[in-house]
C-alpha cells in the first residue's frame, strides 16, 4: 500500500477509534477504583474485561499492533480475575491503573509510531513482565497480524451459541475507511464460522459499477461464546451506514422472556404468563387454586405464586422472573428505560438567555398591564407570568448535573495523593446525586480539589500519629452534597488534626493581619486562613497548590455567590462547608428604593418588613443605628448613608429585616416595591472588588437595579460605622485596616 493512502485512511477513521477507545479507557479507570472497594464484585470484573476486550478488538480492526499486543496481556489478567483464579490486591490494582495509563498512551499515539519513546517502551515492557508474572506464563501468544487475534473462550455463562449475523453495508463503507472483509475476518476470530454467504446480487455490472462504493452484504452463522455486544462491536464503525441484524437462537425460556418484556402492561402475573403462552389457562387455574388453599398462611403472595408456577406448571424460571420484574416495575411506575438526548451546551445557554429576556419582558408587560387597570389584561398577564415561571424552572433544571460525577474524579487523586504521603485514607462520597448548574460544577471542581488536598496534606495525620492519638490508622475523608432551600451545601469533612488555633493566630500576628495581642473569636481565627498573604511559600507544597492559596479558593467560591465556613475541632477534625446558590441566572428578589436608586434583595434572605417612622431608629452607645424588635435590639444599616445616595430625607422609612451569616439585621430603605423575579446580570470585572453588591438586574421598566449581597453588606456596614471598639469586631476592622494600608 502506498504510504499516502495509508495515512489518508488512518486520518479519516482514527478519530472515531480514539474517541471510542477513550471512553472505554475512562470506564476502566472508574471500574478499577470501584473494584478496590468491592474486590469480589463479579459484575465489575466482567465489565472490566469487556472494556479491555473492546479496545483490543477495535484496535485489531485497525491493525494497531502495539495496542493489540499490550492490551492482550491486560485482558489475560482480567480474564483470570473474573474467573476467580486471581484475586485483587492493592498492588494489582495499582498495576492495572498503570497499565490503563499505558493503553491510553498507546491509543493516543496510535497514528504516530514515532511518538513512542524509548522510555515508554521500557515502561511498557516492565508492565508486561509484571502482568505475565501474575498470569504465571499462561498468557496466550498473540498473533500480531492485522485484524485477527485469537481469543481464549470467554467465561460467558451460556456457553457457545450459534448467532445469525446479517449485514448489508452502506455505499459509503469503503470511503469511510472500512472493509467488510476485515469485519468478517474479525468475526471469524471470535469463534467458528459455521457458514457465510456474501450477497453479490446487488453489485451492479462492471460498466455501471462505482468501484469505490460498497454494494456488499453477507449472511453469517457464527458459533461463539462472545456476547452480543462483542459481535455488534465488530460493526461499531460502520453502524451508521450499515443494516445489521444479529440474531441469537433462543431457548424457549428466552423467547418467553422477550415476549413478556415486549408486551403492554398487564398487572397480573398469571395473565401475563398466559398471554405469552408460558402456561395454559387451565394450568393457571390449577395453580391459583393451590395457592388459594394456602391463603391462610402468612407468606408473601407473589413469591408463592411464582414458585407454584415453576414447580407445578413447569413455567421456565426465567420467564417467571421476567414477569415478576415487569410487575415490580409497573408498581414502582418507573419507565423501563431512561432516555437521554444529547444537547449542545451552547444551544441550551442560548435558550436560557432568551428565557432571561422573557422574564424581563414579562415584568415589563405586567407593569403596563397594572397601569392600564384593565382586569382582564392583568389576569392574562398573571397567567402568562406563571407559565413563564414554570418554563424557567424547567429550563434551569436542564442545566443541572449531579455533583457526583465531579466528585468521582477525586477518587483517583485522593488515592494517589494519600499513597504518596504515606497516609491511609477512607474516602467517601455522599449525596452525589445532588444537582448543580453545570457551569458551577465545573467552577467548583478546582476549589474543592484544593480543599481535599489540604485535608490530605495538613489535616489528616500519618497512621502512627493517629494510632498514638487513639484514632484508627486510616483517616476518614467525606465529601458530601446536600440540598437546602435554594442552595446546595457541599461539605468536606475529615477526622484529622483540625485547625491549630494557636499557630494560625501567631501567623496572623506575624503577618500583621491582626493587631498583635488581639484575640478574635474562634470562628474568625479559623477564617484567617483565607486571607491573602496568609500562606507562605512553605505552606504551598507541591500538593496543595501551584502558588494557589486558600484566598483564591474563597474568591472562586464567592465569585459563584457562595460562602465558605469552617468548623474546626482541634485534634478531632475539620468540617468545611461550602454553600452555593442553585443557579446563577435568575433569583427571586425583593425590590426596594432609596432616593432615585433601586436595589434588589434576595427574597430568601428577607425575614420581615417593619414600616416605621424614622423615629424608631435610635443610635446606641456605640453609634450604631438600631431598632427594637419584639424586645431584641436589631442593628440597622441605612443604605442612604452607606452608599451616599443623593436624595432628600424622606418622611417615612421602612426597615427590611434580613438574615445573613452575620446574623439578623435591618436595612433602612425608603420605598418598598414588592417582589420580582430578576435576571442577574453580573457587573463585570471592573466592579470585582465591590462589596455589598453581587450583581445587577434589569427591571421591567428598563432601569438597572443593583442586587445586594446581605452578608457582605453586613460586613461593610460594621466596618464602615465609626465608634466601633476593637473588642467588638476586631477581625473585620483590623483586616480592613491592614488591607487598605
Amino acid at each position: 500500500m502506498s504510504n499516502d493512502a495509508d495515512l489518508d485512511f488512518i486520518a479519516q477513521a482514527m478519530p472515531a477509534f480514539i474517541s471510542e477507545a477513550a471512553e472505554q479507557i475512562e470506564a476502566i479507570e472508574t471500574l478499577l477504583l470501584e473494584l478496590e472497594e468491592q474486590p469480589d464484585n463479579r459484575e465489575l470484573l466482567d465489565s472490566l474485561f469487556r472494556c479491555a476486550h473492546t479496545v483490543k478488538g477495535s484496535a485489531g480492526i485497525f491493525g494497531l499492533n502495539r495496542v493489540v499486543e499490550f492490551t492482550h496481556h491486560v485482558e489475560t489478567l482480567l480474564d483470570k480475575m473474573r474467573d476467580g483464579d486471581i484475586a485483587l490486591t492493592p498492588d494489582i490494582s495499582t498495576l492495572l491503573l498503570q497499565c490503563n495509563d499505558q493503553i491510553k498512551f498507546l491509543v493516543d499515539t496510535a497514528a504516530d509510531e514515532s511518538a513512542d519513546t524509548a522510555e515508554q517502551k521500557d515502561l511498557r515492557a516492565d508492565l508486561v513482565v509484571r502482568l505475565r508474572a501474575l498470569t504465571d506464563g499462561n498468557a496466550q501468544p498473540v498473533q500480531a497480524a492485522p485484524a485477527a487475534v485469537k481469543q481464549a473462550a470467554g467465561g460467558a455463562d451460556a456457553g457457545p451459541q450459534v448467532w445469525t449475523i446479517s449485514a448489508r453495508f452502506g455505499p459509503e463503507t469503503f470511503r469511510n475507511g472500512m472493509d467488510p472483509l476485515s469485519i468478517a475476518r474479525y468475526l471469524g476470530s471470535l469463534g467458528t464460522v459455521v457458514r457465510i454467504k456474501c450477497g453479490i446480487d446487488t453489485v451492479p455490472p462492471l460498466v455501471n459499477l462505482n468501484p469505490e462504493s460498497c454494494y456488499l452484504s453477507f449472511l453469517m452463522e457464527l458459533e461463539t461464546s462472545s456476547s452480543r455486544e462483542d459481535i455488534e462491536g465488530a460493526f461499531s464503525f460502520v453502524m451508521d451506514d450499515c443494516e445489521l441484524d444479529v440474531v441469537a437462537p433462543e431457548t424457549h425460556g428466552q423467547k418467553l422472556v422477550r415476549a413478556i418484556e415486549e408486551m403492554p402492561e398487564t398487572p397480573r402475573l398469571g395473565d401475563m404468563l398466559v398471554s405469552v403462552g408460558a402456561v395454559s389457562q387451565d394450568k393457571l387455574k390449577e395453580v391459583l387454586s393451590t395457592q388459594q388453599q394456602t391463603r391462610g398462611m402468612p407468606v408473601v403472595e407473589k413469591a408463592k405464586i411464582g414458585d407454584l408456577l415453576e414447580t407445578q406448571a413447569g413455567v421456565p424460571p426465567e420467564a417467571v422472573a421476567a414477569a415478576l420484574g415487569k410487575q415490580q416495575k409497573l408498581r414502582e411506575g418507573t419507565p423501563s428505560e431512561e432516555r437521554y438526548i444529547r444537547v449542545q451546551a451552547d444551544r441550551l445557554d442560548a435558550v436560557i438567555n432568551l428565557l432571561g429576556e422573557l422574564v424581563i419582558a414579562g415584568a415589563g408587560a405586567t407593569l403596563l398591564a397594572r397601569e392600564s387597570h384593565q382586569v382582564a389584561l392583568i389576569e392574562a398577564n398573571l397567567h402568562m407570568n406563571s407559565l413563564i415561571e414554570e418554563i424557567r424552572n424547567g429550563t434551569l433544571g436542564l442545566r443541572m448535573v449531579p455533583v457526583g460525577e465531579t466528585f468521582s474524579r477525586f477518587r483517583r487523586v485522593v488515592r494517589d495523593t494519600a499513597s504518596s504521603l504515606g497516609k491511609e485514607v477512607n474516602f467517601e462520597i455522599v449525596g452525589g446525586d445532588a444537582e448543580l448548574d453545570k457551569s458551577m460544577v465545573e467552577k467548583i471542581a478546582d476549589p474543592l480539589m484544593h480543599l481535599v488536598r489540604n485535608s490530605l496534606d495538613h489535616g489528616l495525620e500519618p497512621p502512627q500519629e493517629r494510632i498514638n492519638a487513639g484514632k484508627p490508622a486510616a483517616g476518614k475523608l467525606v465529601l458530601s452534597a446536600r440540598h437546602e432551600t435554594g442552595a446546595i451545601l457541599i461539605r468536606i469533612e475529615d477526622d484529622g488534626r483540625g485547625i491549630n488555633r494557636e499557630r494560625v493566630l501567631q501567623r496572623a500576628w506575624n503577618r500583621g493581619l491582626v493587631e498583635q495581642g488581639v484575640v478574635p473569636p474562634d470562628d474568625d481565627i479559623n477564617m484567617l486562613i483565607f486571607e491573602p498573604g496568609f500562606s507562605t511559600a512553605e505552606q504551598v507544597t507541591n500538593l496543595s497548590g501551584r502558588g494557589v492559596g486558600m484566598d483564591v479558593v474563597r474568591r472562586n467560591i464567592e465569585a459563584l455567590r457562595g460562602t465558605i465556613r469552617l468548623n474546626s475541632n482541634p485534634g478531632k477534625g475539620l468540617q468545611v462547608d461550602i454553600r452555593l446558590p442553585l443557579t446563577l441566572a435568575i433569583i427571586d428578589g425583593f425590590l426596594v428604593g432609596v432616593g432615585k436608586s433601586k436595589f434588589v434583595l434576595p427574597l430568601e434572605s428577607v425575614v420581615e418588613v417593619i414600616e416605621s417612622g424614622g423615629d424608631n431608629v435610635k443610635v446606641d452607645s456605640h453609634g450604631r443605628h438600631c431598632v427594637e424588635l419584639r424586645g431584641a435590639v436589631l442593628p440597622v444599616v441605612r443604605l442612604r448613608t452607606l452608599y451616599t445616595v443623593e436624595s432628600s430625607l424622606p418622611d417615612r422609612v421602612s426597615i427590611v429585616v434580613v438574615s445573613s451569616l452575620r446574623g439578623k439585621f435591618g436595612i433602612e430603605v425608603e420605598v418598598l416595591l414588592g417582589q420580582n423575579q430578576t435576571v442577574i446580570k453580573p457587573l463585570g470585572r471592573l466592579f470585582r472588588t465591590l462589596r455589598g453588591i453581587s450583581g445587577s438586574s434589569i427591571l421591567g421598566s428598563g432601569e438597572v437595579a443593583l442586587i445586594l449581597d446581605v452578608t457582605s453588606l453586613a460586613d461593610l456596614a460594621t466596618g464602615a460605622l465609626h465608634g466601633f471598639s476593637a473588642a467588638q469586631t476586631p477581625v473585620t476592622a483590623a483586616v480592613s485596616t491592614a488591607l487598605s494600608s
Binding site: 469503503f174 472483509l181 453479490i200 468501484p211 469505490e212 460498497c214 456488499l216 453469517m220
Partner: protein, 101 residues
C-alpha cells in the same frame, strides 16, 4: 488458447478504479471474439480487500461468461473469509448458468 486477464497484485480500494477500467477495456476487446468464457487470473493477487472482491463479484452480473483461474493464496483466503468460494470451484458467470456450455 484464451487470452487471460491478470488481476493486479494490489486488488483493493486504491487500485479498484484503474482495475475496473482495465477490465472493461479488456472485456470490450476480447468479449466479442466468441470465446466460451473469458479467463480472469488471480495468480498475481497479493493484496486484496472488500473493494477488490467486489470488483470481481461485479463480473458475475454481466452477460459474458467468465472463469476464475489460478487463484493465489491471498485471493483464496479472502474469498473463504467472505463466503465467495464458489468462484474457486470454477463456476462461471450468468451465461454459464443459463446452460451454455
Amino acid at each position: 488458447m484464451n487470452e487471460r486477464f491478470e488481476l493486479p497484485a494490489e486488488l483493493n480500494i486504491y487500485s479498484a478504479l484503474d482495475t475496473r477500467d482495465a477490465l472493461l477495456a479488456w472485456i470490450a476487446e476480447h468479449g466479442p471474439k466468441g470465446h466460451e468464457y473469458l479467463e480472469i487470473s488471480a495468480r498475481d493477487v497479493a493484496e486484496i480487500d472488500g473493494a477488490g472482491l467486489q470488483l470481481v463479484a461485479s463480473l458475475s452480473n454481466m452477460e459474458q461468461a467468465w472463469r476464475l483461474i489460478e487463484p493465489s493464496d491471498a485471493f483464496t483466503d479472502a474469498c473463504r473469509t467472505l463466503g465467495l468460494l464458489n468462484w474457486i470451484d470454477g463456476r462461471s458467470g450468468k451465461a454459464a448458468h443459463s446452460g451454455a456450455v
